[in-house]
């Protein structure tokens, strides 16, 4: 044991030696604690995550990326706190206010209460809240909402039109409005395709009328996502929409397994364009994605804080303003029939015009 430790120490020392033999810079850098670039503006934009943390490959991460982009673009200061549980929300927001943040972005509906009371206690600080409004509305809280049903409506239409087996499926992480809104839109899109083309494509995993369906129960159990997806594939589904953040990786695994056994299963990704975020080997699986531009909305909110145009009027991302969208088909472009592509362009136009309204009880 002693010998082993000795070897380890030797290896470590060599590594240190190799790592530490650079040249010292001319001037002593002193002991600055990472002050970063000099700020071009006095504004400080801050963000509190929910319990998922900023590396959740989902909405916390999108929000943080938007904040980072705004900070880089505008040369302002940034401060973030991660919550490890719901008990951290209120203290984290209070701590950021104490750090003289001008704008505090709270990620997720669970922070709504904490944001509301912090807004009351600190009328001079502005807040933005992702995926929720505050009750009652405050003059210093801007809700950032997304009518994702519009984009997933298009995705449902594409899925129904592209499916070879005539069965598509969806499932969610937890049954909350920001998840089920995807599933509602998807269900309507499938129904719309059936109505227009006289087909009877089946949807598994979600019944819009009863609001009942399949959920993994969390946003981190990838195995549950894989099981659920296998179940769908066994029932004949060949296009799956997982609305469960990182759990969608389980769907990719199940799809890969099914395709290796001769199947032809595709996945519709959510939140970001999956083609850009999943592993390269999984890219051919991504038929399209229902994109929710959380990052862009955060970036806009920060900009409005900097140029003084901040208002508490809710931002609602729609197809019209680009806050939600259907991603390109990328590698699967050839697999989507031209008639379906034409149909989607027309639907997109109809939704933007208001000729078609996508209904969901979860619509913000």
């Amino acid at each position: 044991m002693k010998k082993k430790l000795g070897t380890l120490a030797a290896v470590g020392a060599v590594a240190l030696l190799a790592a530490g033999c650079g040249e010292a810079p001319e001037a002593s850098t002193g002991a600055g604690s990472g002050s970063g670039t000099s700020a071009a503006s006095d504004v400080k934009a801050c963000m509190v995550s929910d319990a998922g943390g900023f590396d959740d490959q989902s909405f916390n991460q999108s929000g943080k990326e938007g904040l980072d982009a705004a900070v880089a673009e505008l040369g302002i200061q940034e401060q973030t706190t991660q919550s490890s549980s719901e008990a951290d929300f209120a203290p984290n927001i209070a701590a950021l206010v104490q750090q003289n943040c001008n704008l505090v972005v709270a990620v997720g509906f669970l922070l709504a209460d904490a944001t509301g009371s912090a807004a009351d206690a600190n009328p001079d600080t502005q807040f933005a809240l992702i995926d929720s409004t505050v009750e009652p509305a405050r003059s210093n809280v801007k809700p950032l909402l997304f009518d994702t049903a519009q984009a997933s409506y298009l995705a449902g239409y594409v899925a129904a039109g592209t499916s070879k087996t005539g069965t598509v499926a969806t499932y969610g992480g937890i049954q909350i409005p920001s998840v089920t809104i995807f599933m509602d839109g998807f269900a309507d899109g499938v129904a719309k395709y059936n109505e227009d083309n006289g087909t009877s494509v089946k949807l598994l995993g979600w019944d819009k009328a009863t609001q009942q369906g399949s959920f993994t129960g969390n946003f981190d159990d990838i195995g549950a996502g894989q099981n659920t997806t296998q179940n769908f594939i066994q029932q004949g589904a060949d296009i799956i929409l997982p609305v469960a953040g990182p759990v969608g990786n389980g769907t990719l695994a199940a799809a890969n397994a099914a395709n290796a056994a001769g199947g032809d299963v595709k996945v519709v990704w959510v939140d970001s364009d999956g083609y850009n975020t999943v592993k390269e080997s999984d890219r051919p699986l991504i038929l399209t994605s229902v994109v929710k531009e959380i990052g862009a909305s955060v970036q806009d909110a920060v900009k409005s804080e900097v140029d003084g145009s901040f208002s508490s009027e809710p931002y609602v991302g729609t197809l019209e303003n680009g806050g939600v969208s259907l991603a390109p088909f990328h590698d699967n472009d050839a697999n989507v029939p031209q008639a379906v592509k034409d149909g989607v362009s027309k639907l997109q136009q109809d939704v933007v015009d208001g000729t078609i309204t996508v209904q969901s009880q979860s619509t913000p």
Partner: protein, 430 residues
């Protein structure tokens, strides 16, 4: 067939166990598996660690955490690139990073002279007490079970059920304060006691090991709560988000220091509970028999004590304390019930109980330390961008060192159960 997997939909009344198990044929109580075994031996070893070992464990954890802060600090890493050209740069950067972070943690946990107002300067210490309240209550729950030789890993589940019942009374009933608050707290205590009692009953009647049963019941409680929050009975009117309405003002713990501070009456209630637990364990006959069962079940049985009833009683009391933690967290701090109401409290409670050597006063002090870590971690993260995970590392190292008292004794060359080695220790620590 459109719903192949039903998801987290646990039947509402699906609390397993209690009715079925009481009907099961009771094995003769002499065969009930309460042999002390290695686990109990470890428990008694860990519980008898000297204060010195505990203090050293905490200090080592902070030193390790400080090293981590230093090596993950960007300035330190930049300066390490030329460590051999000018080592003082890296060392001073690392030192600054660690002291800045711990300084911020101290300011966030006790007193913040840099705050913008006097109220804000005093807020940290009250925040520590707020965070500590449920930790102490849940820590007492685990400690009480430890003293009777039982591992109650289920404080989390008992806390959740307690919070659910306290919440139901708190936001669905409309009563005057003098009745409403006590009733809501009582509901929480009863909820926790029921959830813990199931475990005690199963252990006493069937011999089902409490570790397995409590862990499983934790899951049941988590999904029961998740299911309840999809039903209109728990949801806010006009919203389908899984979050309950806030509890009525008449069911909320009154704030002790006015609206600028979150410190509430629940903290005092928890201290009373600690005193009660002390009395129960050290002064009452029941407590004596529980401790006897914990020390040696066979001897306790020979002395005429009912080991089975002791298990049931201990788990009822332990669950009640965890339920109290849930009620305190919900009615005092959070006000609304949501899926994450329990956070990590039920698991941190195990560490709190171990660090407190399963003694009420020790648990109160350990709870305050952990409350300070949590509360201070917030400011540490906000002002120095040190990841909050450092707090978790410090906590985990404490657990590791306490769970293995011989390890600490070896590291610091301590003689078992003797304080003579204190001088050696000081030189080793320096």
């Amino acid at each position: 067939m459109s719903t192949p997997t039903p998801g987290p939909q646990v039947p509402p009344g699906g609390s397993p166990g209690a009715p079925g198990s009481s009907g099961a044929p009771a094995p003769s109580s002499t065969t009930s598996p309460d042999a002390p075994g290695r686990a109990a031996a470890w428990l008694s070893d860990a519980r008898q660690s000297t204060w010195l070992v505990l203090v050293l464990a905490v200090l080592s954890a902070f030193v390790l955490g400080g090293l981590l802060i230093a090596v993950t600090d960007q300035a330190t890493r930049d300066a390490s690139g030329y460590f051999f050209a000018r080592p003082q740069d890296a060392l001073s950067a690392g030192w600054t990073a660690a002291t800045d972070a711990y300084g911020a943690m101290l300011r966030g946990a006790v007193f913040d002279p840099q705050a913008r107002s006097t109220t804000a300067a005093f807020r940290p210490i009250t925040e520590t007490l707020v965070v500590a309240s449920p930790l102490i209550a849940a820590g007492l729950a685990v400690a009480l079970a430890f003293r009777a030789g039982l591992f109650n890993i289920g404080a989390q589940g008992q806390l959740i059920v307690g919070a659910m019942l306290a919440g139901l009374v708190g936001f669905r009933l409309d009563l005057p304060l003098v009745v409403h608050l006590p009733l809501a707290v009582l509901a929480g205590v009863v909820g926790g006691a029921l959830w813990g009692g199931i475990v005690g009953l199963l252990r006493a009647r069937t011999g089902a090991h409490e570790v397995i049963v409590t862990i499983m019941l934790n899951y049941v409680a988590v999904y029961l709560l998740a299911y309840a929050l999809t039903t209109p009975g728990f949801q806010r009117e006009g919203s389908s988000n899984p979050i309950s309405p806030p509890v009525a003002d008449s069911a909320a713990f009154p704030l002790l220091l006015g609206p600028s501070f979150r410190l509430h009456l629940g903290f005092l209630l928890v201290l009373v509970a600690a005193a009660l637990v002390w009395w129960l364990l050290e002064r009452s006959t029941v407590g004596f028999s529980w401790r006897a069962v914990g020390a040696n079940p066979a001897a306790a049985r020979t002395a005429g004590m009912s080991v089975s009833w002791a298990f049931v009683g201990v788990m009822l009391a332990s669950g009640a304390l965890a339920g109290l933690a849930g009620a305190v967290q919900l009615l005092g701090t959070e006000r609304s019930l949501s899926g994450g109401i329990a956070g990590q409290i039920g698991f941190d409670a195990i560490t709190v109980a171990l660090l407190g050597r399963s003694k009420p006063l020790g648990v109160v002090l350990a709870g305050l330390l952990f409350g300070a870590l949590r509360a201070g971690g917030v400011l540490m993260q906000a002002s120095t961008s040190t990841p909050i995970d450092i707090v978790l590392v410090v906590q985990s190292v404490i657990v590791l060192l306490i769970a293995a008292p011989p390890l600490v004794r070896t590291v610091f060359r301590l003689q078992p159960r003797r304080r003579a080695a204190a001088t050696t220790t000081r030189s080793a620590a320096a």
